[in-house]
């Protein structure tokens, strides 16, 4: 079932789920009372600064720390040699030879990208630590540099990791349907030589870091930090530190944005753990902005080569073939998961049944990559949208028409993709209609003429995206059958305390996604109280006992995994309260008790009621004489949600890889100055369908933010490297993110296609902003059509690139050929 509501109009509802209630997080944050990790201080703590390689590729001949250690106020140093002795390399997920790569907390023997940490120093102040870092003498022997992923497999290419003997991290063939038959059946075959998706990062405003304490008595580290996926962080760190998971206590409170960029902090955190233990004092590290740009993580760069698209005469596309080369940078930290994550959305929004993808991931002398909002799917969906618009342009079919002809239809839901993923619900064509309505598509020809009269070229572009949420980690076994990960899990605890306080802890690690508010809405509704009565502990603490191996906030899943865990724990608590009240109220059956306004009362007899405060007090402080049937009643309920997943078929690379699929359809209108390539986005619409919305205002906020990321990425944000491996945009001067004056007016609309895959009908959302990259590229291509019909073959199009496209339309046009049969 699909419902539509125009922006700003909410149907009145009973209860709190579905209402935009005031956000719990706001009161502290608007008063500057948020607790971010850098706000946490400890007596005697030292500040850490990393010494980083100025070379993209260099052998480390020697490191001399003596001058730094001689400086007054310096507490100590750490070098790669110590790291190599005291830790084991991080676990690698790939198959041979990729799994032979050795990745440590600091560079050992060689530095492999500009900005890689080679040593660390700890001192009494931030400033002193920087001074001391300058005194550390590193003797480098520069080596030949590899920056171009397409050259990584050349016989004369520099090898980054000698242990692996190759720059290939992972490679494999994905072959679904019958591609050869589709090719034989085609009336036309469109071939595209090369498309390029660029490197960028959503650059959270709060940089990474941690305050790390070591307790000698127990061998335990406590990390006050902003890691957004501590469960997996601990799986990386504990074996490397040769300790148990229980010895790593992660604590987060408020986190200043994450977007995936705070998932692979383990190398830094291991270095901090070693320093805290070595120096026997708390150590504190806050990444500087320039360091984040150089050496935190970037989104994956991907090249699509030898694209082939068999098409029927009526514009029906039968599938595609492509060779993809993914650039993982210097170390495959979260990789090679990106080599499979894209296949969650293999055919994009389209009914393509025959698909062959030859996928290779390589290392280069650049910053490592890691998940970045829309991880790996964004690259692939950009590719599918480029295919649609390029094929449409070549065959003379309108972008709306070609989409509607090829979109998966709402009546086909749930839809099984050629690789076994289940698209749970959605109505792409209807979402597109809403988006077109919002930009006034009916009058677009008139506006085109109006723009022309002003010497401008108007273009319209559509971006269709699926935000696949709630990973089945079993997909990792499609990369490496020996990996022991599958399914997913999330945890919540809900407790009724002595004075009737309702206290919730979450395994999730929000970075702005409002989990305190949203969890309180659900708990309030299920317990018959208000969100104000529900206390949700901010952040994550391993001591809360409310986490599991996959806990965290990533991959669009809170509304499913987080809330299902909250729901499970709350229902268990509600049942215990009813049983307790039933006994206290004279042996009434639990089924005859209802929870209303903070009371457990007998149905039909509101005067026979026990306040929650009494329930909490009885169990926690006044429990003598309770009957044995209440022995299991603790009023402290923990629930682990596990989505219904199977391990995928490893031979066929076939199976359901994610639980829900939210839809985002964006439409973008640009005006381009043909003389200069300068453009302006004059109209923009984003339509979102994430199933049941618990808090519409928060959903809309996510849509706004994701769209801004996409517009930034599509227009200006990029991490280019020169031929020596120097990053050219290492700070916010050179790396231009959207400011308030850069943002076009945004219109939003929504559909609600509830997910049948979970009890709440929700879908994870927040990563669908990639649609903006697709829509913008399509709009530029549309605008430039009168200037020799060039195509947009790169995902980033700053003014100068648009000007170059205008100046030489033949360059990009010649990338495309059409064979008519």
């Amino acid at each position: 079932m699909t419902t539509i509501a125009p922006e700003g109009v909410e149907a009145p509802q009973k209860g709190f789920v579905g209402q935009s209630v005031p956000r719990k997080e706001d009161k502290r944050l608007v008063q500057g009372q948020g607790v971010f990790f850098d706000d946490v201080k400890r007596h005697g703590m030292g500040y850490v600064h990393f010494v980083r390689s100025p070379y993209a590729h260099a052998r480390i001949r020697s490191i001399d720390v003596s001058a730094a250690l001689a400086l007054e106020g310096v507490y100590g140093t750490l070098t790669g040699d110590e790291v190599a002795i005291q830790t084991d390399p991080f676990f690698e997920m790939s198959t041979p030879p990729g799994n032979e790569i050795k990745d440590y907390a600091l560079a050992v023997g060689k530095a492999r990208f500009m900005g890689e940490p080679v040593a660390a120093v700890c001192a009494a102040t931030r400033e002193l630590a920087r001074d001391a870092a300058e005194l550390i003498e590193v003797d480098y022997e520069p080596l030949p540099v590899l920056v171009d992923p397409e050259r990584a497999q050349d016989p004369d290419a520099p090898i980054l990791h000698e242990d692996a003997g190759s720059n290939v991290v992972w490679s494999g063939l994905f072959d679904w349907g019958d591609y050869d038959a589709a090719l034989a059946e085609a009336d036309r075959v469109v071939r595209i030589e090369r498309l390029h998706f660029h490197r960028f990062s959503s650059t959270p405003l709060e940089c990474s870091g941690a305050l790390v304490e070591y307790e000698r008595a127990t061998g335990q580290w406590t990390l006050y930090c902003n890691h957004q996926m501590p469960g997996v962080g601990a799986i990386w760190m504990a074996p490397s530190l040769r300790t148990g998971i229980d010895k790593l206590r992660f604590v987060t409170h408020d986190i200043g944005g994450g977007f995936g960029n705070k998932i692979t902090l383990h190398p830094y955190f291991v270095a901090l753990c070693l320093l805290a233990r070595k120096l026997n004092r708390p150590v504190h590290w806050t990444e500087w902005r320039t360091e984040q740009h150089m050496a935190n993580t970037h989104g994956n760069e991907r090249v699509f080569l030898d694209v082939e698209v068999p098409v029927k005469a009526d514009g029906t596309m039968l599938g595609f073939r492509v060779k993809a080369i993914d650039d993982a940078g210097a170390y495959p930290r979260y990789e090679p998961l990106g080599c499979i994550i894209w296949s969650q959305v293999t055919p994009g929004c389209y009914r393509w049944r025959n698909i062959r993808v030859d996928f290779t991931q390589v290392c280069t002398n650049k910053s490592p990559t890691a998940p970045n909002r829309g991880y790996s799917r964004m690259q692939h969906l950009w590719f599918t949208e480029r295919v649609i618009d390029i094929v449409g342009q070549q065959l003379g079919i309108d972008p709306v028409e070609i989409r509607k002809r090829n979109y998966i239809r709402s009546e086909e839901m749930p839809y099984e993709t050629p690789n076994g993923c289940i698209y749970d619900s959605g109505d792409y064509a209807r979402a597109l209609d809403i988006a077109l309505d919002l930009i006034g598509y009916d009058s677009i020809d008139e506006r085109r003429r109006d723009a022309e009269a002003r010497g401008r070229l108007l273009g319209v572009g559509i971006g269709s995206t699926l935000d696949s949420g709630t990973n089945n980690f079993g997909q990792s076994q499609l990369l490496n059958p020996d990996l022991q990960f599958s399914g997913n899990n999330e945890v919540a605890t809900v407790r009724l305390d002595t004075f009737g306080e309702i206290v919730v802890t979450l395994g999730t690690v929000p970075q702005g996604q409002s989990h305190e508010t949203v969890a309180s809405q659900l708990v309030a509704e299920l317990l018959g109280v208000t969100p104000d009565d529900v206390h949700v502990r901010p952040g994550h603490d391993s001591f809360f006992n409310s986490h599991a191996g996959f806990s965290g906030t990533y991959a669009s899943q809170f509304a499913v995994t987080g809330l299902e865990a909250v729901k499970g724990a709350t229902l268990a608590l509600a049942d215990q309260i009813k049983r307790l009240a039933g006994v206290i109220l004279g042996g009434v059956d639990a089924e005859d008790i209802e929870l209303v306004d903070g009371f457990a009362r007998i149905k039909g007899n509101p005067d026979a009621a026990l306040p929650f405060m009494a329930c909490g007090a009885i169990i926690n402080a006044n429990n003598a004489g309770l009957p044995p049937e209440l022995d299991d009643v603790t009023l402290n309920c923990r629930y682990v949600y596990r989505p219904p997943f199977q391990v995928p078929d490893k031979e066929r690379k076939f199976g359901n890889l994610t639980l829900t699929y939210a839809t985002q359809i964006h439409a973008c209108v640009v005006e381009v100055d043909p003389e200069t390539g300068v453009y302006e986005i004059v109209d923009y619409a984003a339509v979102d369908d994430c199933g049941k919305r618990i808090h519409p205002q928060i959903v809309e906020g996510q849509v706004h933010g994701a769209t801004a990321h996409a517009i930034g990425a599509a227009t200006h944000e990029q991490f280019p490297y020169d031929e020596d491996g120097n990053l050219l945009t290492a700070n916010f001067y050179d790396y231009h993110v959207p400011h308030a004056m850069d943002m076009p007016p945004l219109r939003t609309g929504h559909l609600e296609s509830p997910s049948p895959m979970n009890s709440l009908g929700t879908k994870g959302m927040g990563e669908g902003g990639g649609a903006g990259v697709h829509a913008f590229c399509a709009a530029i291509q549309d605008a430039l059509r009168p200037l020799g019909a060039p195509i947009v073959d790169d995902s980033c199009n700053p003014y100068h690139r648009v000007w170059e496209t205008i100046r030489d339309p033949e360059r990009s046009r010649s990338l495309v050929r059409v064979e008519t049969r």
Binding site: Q31, G32, Q33, S202, L205, G256, G512, G701, P738, H739
Partner: protein
Amino acid sequence: MEPVTSAVVTVTVNGETYEREVEARRLLVHLIRDDLDLTGTHVGCDTGSCGACSVIVDGELVKSCMLLAVQADGATIETVEGLAQDGELTPLQQAFSDNHALQCGYCTPGMLMSATYLLRNNPEPTDAEIRKGIQGNICRCTGYVNIVKAIDAAARGEVSA
């Protein structure tokens, strides 16, 4: 003679006067955050680009990472902690909450100081003037949509009780 590398500075922050000896190179933002423990003012970059550290110094909007602490000697400084009085939010703070103008909240203190300064000097700004007023502040969560809406609502007095 040894060069002087530190100095005693006196600043009045949110009505309270502090005296601290600081290194000559210490940034004002680190004086505020680390020495005075007013951690509402944030650091988001190292080039003066992001505005997370925005405060009001002697009535002027300033990025406190672009000023040395010693340059602020004798100054009267307003930070985000000084906005609400006795826990009573200002209309701007309330409007930020009403309109979901913050997600992670990291840019919010700087954004609120820029908006406070804007409305003090231009109580009825247009949409374009609001955008110009916060163009020195980067937000990576909201796309500015609801921030602009919130500032406009505060200017119009459209805030919840």
